[in-house]
């Protein structure tokens, strides 16, 4: 059964092996989803992608939006118009959407609105590891935090119900280890959508001019009180086990706590917080008052811990509260069973399992011998060619602000062509800042999806203020890093039908960039020439380096039964100069010790290495039957 079938036809009461993100998508459908909107971002992407796959069998509208702010507005408005809606993003996406998010809490909704924030402790695929539970506090937004895929599904349904009960958006906060854990998930019944969209005018609620906003703020705080009462009673805030020792935890950390108790053979009462904003203050106070010691276990910020301290102070509860403030746990990175076992053991003055010491001694020597293997650009990736060309055209004398996408991987050797990165779209704004203060070529790189996401305002700024930035739009016709989602430049919509394709060059010209050129990065000489021209141009210039993602191109060739013709090295002609390896470093290139060679199974046949070989030693080989 493929995911589309499980989502729309999977039987209630039956277990399916689902990824946490797939479980959230199913939960939304069970809750009678009518509209979902997203901008993809790891670790959230599979939620939207599953809904995208199932859209033809489902009864909901789905769209990939230009960015998270737009997605929040789309879903927020739909929920105001009485349609159950879901909006999905990664943690940093909520920064982009935060303006809309904050005021949505003021106006509230009429049908359920669930906002998924997928946080990334450990920065597996992100530029930071911010803790979005603090957004719930900032926005006074009711929040649920699942610990595993089953809870992720069940809490999604519960979040829709809560949202409708409170007429407020509800934040479903997950982390990488919930989103990307697969387990058996028992499905529930699918409720029919309400099918009653209706915009009931109420401008003194929904139009947040200052007089309205002032009126809505106390209403929002009343909602928080109402939600607190729910939080005191909800079964999502539950105590598991008994003992003089109390542990307060939430999300994925709960799992590690249970494993730690077993490993350390401890008896404890574990307060598992599922509804983590607003917190069940009275219940937590009662819990702490009955314990000899309380340990708080949570990833990232001491969110529960600080609340627990404040709650204890209020009731003059003197129980020791042990956590990050004493250094038993870190605010950095994701937890593992081991970090929790060690933290709990230290907090209680118990010994850590002795086998850890033995393993640590052995592993430190062993790991020192293992060469690092960071993620790299795929074999035949057109970005590799583009950045080789930028490096050549600028003689590596420029500064290279970069952006969020596969091309950020050029930070790795041999290209090492990334100098500055903040967030989605930042390459153009940071390029403007650098040109304002430096007299050097500033060449910013931005992907096609990122360009539409938040690059355009930066480009308008460059034109308006006449910064002579050189912007290379690396257009591989997809949102590659997050799993090949469509975007405005591809024209395919989230409903799986053609929309209107938006031309990057037309946008650039439209906002007033006078130098706009489109190149094919797999044509090395012509591309370098175009980049030199752009560098010499007096004013902002945009070069669109257009070539499809190598993974998609290989897949297209396979399904069209087109041959993939790998290149090979003529060992007679190869002089061992290492230009192909040291300047390009394709993932399909290997080095025999004396000369270059190519892994035929990996080579995509892009031919870039053949073009840069000074001895013309690389040529097309035989067509390859590829799995």
């Amino acid at each position: 059964m493929d995911i589309a079938e499980v989502l729309t036809k999977g039987a209630a009461g039956k277990q399916y092996l689902l990824l946490g993100n797939e479980a959230i998508a199913r939960g939304a459908i069970e809750a009678g989803l009518e509209l979902a909107a997203t901008y993809p971002g790891t670790p959230s992407s599979e939620i939207g992608d599953s809904l995208f796959r199932a859209v033809k069998q489902g009864n909901y509208f789905f769209e990939y939006c230009t960015n998270e702010k737009v997605a929040m507005e789309v879903a927020g408005a739909a929920a105001v118009a009485n349609a159950r809606s879901l909006v999905i993003m990664k943690h940093v996406g909520l920064n982009v959407a935060s303006d809309a998010f904050m005021t949505l809490n003021y106006i509230g909704v009429r049908a359920g609105l669930v906002i998924v924030s997928a946080d990334d402790p450990g920065c597996w695929s992100s530029q930071n590891e911010q803790d979005n539970r603090l957004y719930a506090m900032l926005g006074d937004t009711t929040m649920l935090e699942p610990a595993d895929p089953q809870e992720a599904k069940d809490m999604t349904v519960a979040a829709f119900d809560l949202s409708e009960e409170l007429e407020q958006p509800v934040l479903l906060r997950v982390t990488t280890r919930v989103s990307h854990t697969r387990s058996g998930v028992e499905l529930g019944e699918i409720r029919p959508p309400r099918n009653n969209p209706n915009f009931e005018r109420d401008p003194f609620r929904f139009v947040t001019v200052p007089t309205v906003a002032r009126k809505r703020h106390p209403i929002l705080l009343e909602k928080v009180k109402q939600a607190t009462e729910i939080s005191e009673k909800t079964p999502w805030n539950k105590i598991v086990g008994k003992g003089e020792l109390g542990i307060i935890t939430s999300g994925v950390s709960f799992n590690y706590v249970m494993e730690a108790l077993e490993t350390l053979q401890l008896k404890a009462a574990v307060f598992k917080i599922g509804m983590s904003y607003p917190l069940p203050k009275k219940k937590i106070q009662k819990f702490m008052a009955s314990k000899e010691k309380v340990i708080v276990v949570e990833e990232l910020k001491p969110y529960l811990e600080n609340h627990a301290r404040a709650f204890a102070q209020e009731k003059e509860i003197m129980v020791p509260i042990l956590g990050k403030s004493q250094g038993y746990f870190s605010e950095i990175g994701e937890f593992t069973p081991r970090t929790v076992i060690e933290g709990v053991a230290k907090a209680l003055g118990k010994a850590i399992p002795p086998e850890y010491v033995d393993v640590d001694n052995k592993i430190s020597e062993t790991l020192a011998t293992a060469p690092p293997r960071p993620p790299i650009l795929c074999a035949g990736c057109p970005h590799r060619a583009t950045f080789y060309e930028i490096a050549t055209a600028t003689g590596r004398k420029g500064i290279y602000p970069t952006d969020i996408g596969c091309y950020t991987l050029v930070i790795q050797p041999p290209l090492e062509m990334a100098d500055l990165l903040l967030c989605m779209g930042s390459s153009i704004g940071t390029s403007c800042g650098l040109t304002a203060v430096l007299d050097k070529p500033i060449v910013g790189a931005i992907g096609d999806s990122t360009f539409f996401h938040s690059g355009i305002p930066g480009l308008v700024n460059a034109v308006y203020n006449q910064h002579p930035v050189k912007i290379i739009v690396v257009d591989n016709h997809t949102t590659a890093m997050t799993g090949h989602q469509p975007h405005p430049g591809t024209g395919m919509t989230g409903m799986g039908v053609p929309g209107k394709q938006i031309s990057i060059e037309a946008v650039a010209r439209g906002v007033g960039v006078d130098y706009v050129k489109v190149i094919d990065p797999l044509q090395v000489k012509e591309s370098i020439r175009a980049m030199r021209e752009a560098l010499a141009y007096d004013g902002p210039a945009v070069v669109i380096s257009r070539s499809p993602c190598a993974l998609l191109e290989s897949a297209r060739k396979r399904s069209a039964n087109e041959p993939i013709i790998p290149y090979e090295v003529d060992p007679e002609k190869c002089q061992g100069c290492r230009v192909c390896t040291d300047k390009l470093g394709c993932a399909a290139a290997i080095w025999t010790g004396e000369h270059a060679a190519i892994e035929a199974d990996l080579c995509s046949g892009c031919g870039v290495c053949a073009q840069i070989c000074p001895y013309k030693a690389i040529h097309e080989g035989e067509a390859n039957e590829r799995v």
Binding site: Y256, E259, T366, I376, M481
Partner: protein, 204 residues
């Protein structure tokens, strides 16, 4: 089952995730509690990846604690090395002898250890079994079936408490039809070579 942990490691893009899903799906089909930890996104692009499959009643989270893996599987020797802290002393490490050279090594900035050094290091932690999984995968129809060869090997060795027919059913459930035959062939090859090895080396 109380608890059985498998660490499946390798290089992004070589099918580790799919192979791990086959095992997780088979375990679920046998009515077990299963947790599988996956790596997606940036970490997948040719970088080191690991998948965890945890089976049994006492399993909660997706991450295998230090020294708690019953099995460590990797077609790539260095990737076995990178994750060897998870294996338990009574566990088994299975390594396919298929080197994938990291860019740093290609550029001469890092060194790839010798096979002997890797095996020696691995053997400090648990029993090691190695064989040429890539060759068997090529014979079965393609290099990307390497991880299925490893699955065949652990079934042949009776190393996991899952039935062969459940694993074959999972292969058919998870893989697209056009890849099923070659993967079942890869599975069979893995299964047989291990049995032969066992007899000749006197292991087990």
């Amino acid at each position: 089952m109380k608890e059985y942990n498998i660490m499946f490691t390798g290089v992004g893009g070589t099918g580790v995730l799919t192979a791990a899903r086959i095992l997780a799906s088979a375990a679920l089909a046998e009515g077990e509690n299963v947790r599988m930890g996956e790596i997606h996104g940036m970490a997948q692009r040719g970088g080191a990846v690991n998948c965890t499959i945890r089976i049994g009643k006492s399993v909660h989270g997706p991450i295998i604690p230090t020294g708690k893996a019953n099995l460590l599987l990797s077609v790539e020797p260095v990737e076995a090395l990178r994750n060897v802290d998870r294996i338990m002393p009574s566990g088994t490490i299975i390594v396919g002898e298929y080197r994938i050279t990291p860019t740093g090594v290609l550029l001469g900035r890092d060194k790839y250890p010798s096979d002997e050094a890797i095996l020696q290091d691995l053997a400090k932690f648990a029993k090691v079994i190695t064989f040429d999984a890539a060759k068997l995968a090529q014979e079965a129809g393609g290099i990307l079936t390497m991880n299925t060869v490893l699955i065949g090997a652990i079934i042949g060795l009776n190393l996991i408490p899952i039935k062969e027919e459940t694993v074959i059913a999972a292969i058919k459930e998870i893989l697209p039809e056009r890849y099923q035959a070659m993967n079942i062939s890869a599975f069979e090859k893995g299964k047989k070579i291990q049995k032969r090895r066992l007899q000749s080396s006197g292991l087990g």
